[in-house]
């Protein structure tokens, strides 16, 4: 091989190595991100009664999970108070 061909081959090889390195790095970062997200998102599987109703069968958190109002709602008071709510 002449020097120019050798240089071209070397540049191509260098480019392939760089591309492979970038791909590998992206794969590692992607895997890390997926792992972290998967790990973190599982935090949403709260064990309280609100979340149980909004967790999918697979156990993953449903995007429908939301703060929920009471089924029975809140009505006007009609007598002397049993207890009180305020800042604490």
């Amino acid at each position: 091989m002449d020097p120019e061909t050798t240089a071209r081959t070397a540049r191509r090889e260098h480019g392939r190595r760089k591309a492979a390195l970038a791909t590998a790095a992206a794969a590692v970062l992607g895997a890390a991100a997926v792992g972290a997200i998967g790990f973190g998102l599982s935090s949403a599987n709260a064990a309280d009664d609100t979340t149980q109703t909004t967790t999918t069968d697979s156990g993953s958190t449903s995007s429908q999970d939301q703060l929920q109002s009471s089924d029975s709602g809140v009505d006007s008071g009609s007598g002397s108070a049993h207890t009180g709510s305020g800042a604490s």
């Binding site: 609100t50 709602g73 809140v74 008071g77 207890t83 009180g84």
Partner: protein
């Protein structure tokens, strides 16, 4: 009906049952539940599970079922509020001077405001009860742990006694089982300690939870400023003073408390934020103006009734 109140978790704990014969059991179970929550979640106890978690920051550790549930509730609250309620405000709260049991908090220089590092930095697998708390991230589960304690205690007491049960932890209320005729009557005011004797309004609750967050209690002076315990995670400082009291009814006390705390942080946008989530709420501005969301009983009717 019978009731008992005592001090716990730095506030007042109260339990009411529709069958007086079941009160002793209810009180015993409430004490057990509160002790367990304190041992798992108190940032003021060096021997609590959460303090030990801070001690091993950066390492993966397995936590107990109660702390798993409390972390799940706190991180879910953060996610559903877009970070308005964030358990990673521990450092921010301490910088404001709330670094010990509230009764011992004193005036002093105000530290620099420290925005919360963000709930998403906590790596947590609830199915395996595994947590990695990054170094420098300090948790404060106060906003949701007390509400969770009310939810858990009311459920447990009702299951054990079979009677209608109301648990009130410093204004965070959960009712379970058959309510008295007309529902549990709950006075709403700025301060949980005198809401019954000085009610702004009274509502009836037959199920679920009700919580009030406000800036009129748990206040202290720091660096010549008055600060309080509700922190805006985005800034690390106290929220802009728009609402002094926000009361929300929810399916659970955790949901109600999450929403009421978020509303105080959110400020002007809070009524529409609550309405979009169909959460009945009553907001009292720092100037005394009252705003309610759909589902909350009309204020005029309540005043006539009370």
């Amino acid at each position: 009906m019978a009731s008992t109140a005592f001090r716990a978790l730095g506030t007042t704990a109260e339990v009411l049952v529709t069958d007086p014969a079941r009160l002793e059991t209810a009180v015993e179970l409430l004490h057990e539940e509160l002790d367990a929550v304190d041992e798992a979640c108190s940032r003021f106890r060096a021997d609590s599970e959460i303090s030990r978690l801070h001690d091993v920051a950066g390492r993966q550790v397995r936590v107990g079922p109660l702390l798993t549930e409390a972390l799940s509730a706190a991180l879910r609250a953060a996610r559903l509020t877009g970070g308005l309620v964030d358990p990673t405000v521990g450092t921010a709260v301490r910088a404001l001077g709330y670094d010990r049991d509230f009764a011992a908090v004193t005036d002093g220089p105000l530290g620099a405001e420290v925005p919360a590092p963000g709930w998403h930095r906590v790596l947590f697998d609830p199915a395996r009860a595994l947590v990695v708390l990054p170094r420098g991230v300090h948790l404060d589960l106060g906003a949701t742990a007390k509400a969770l304690a009310a939810d858990r205690a009311a459920r447990r007491i009702h299951t054990a006694t079979g009677c209608g049960t109301l648990v009130n932890l410093g204004g965070d209320i959960r009712v379970e089982g058959p309510a008295p005729e007309g529902g549990w009557q709950i006075a709403v005011g700025d301060d949980h300690a005198d809401a019954v004797t000085r009610p702004d309004t009274t509502v009836a609750l037959s199920g679920g939870g009700l919580a009030t967050s406000g800036t009129t209690r748990r206040r202290w002076r720091r660096g010549g400023r008055t600060v309080h315990h509700i922190v805006d995670p985005r800034t690390g400082g106290v929220p802009s003073p728009r609402w002094r009291t926000v009361t929300v009814a929810g399916k659970s006390t955790v949901d109600a408390n999450t929403a009421s705390t978020a509303a105080v942080v959110l400020g002007d946008a809070a009524p529409s934020w609550l309405a979009e989530r169909s959460l009945p709420a009553r907001l009292v501005g720092v100037d005394g103006d009252i705003v309610t969301t759909p589902g909350w009983p009309r204020e005029t009717e309540l005043r006539e009734a009370s």
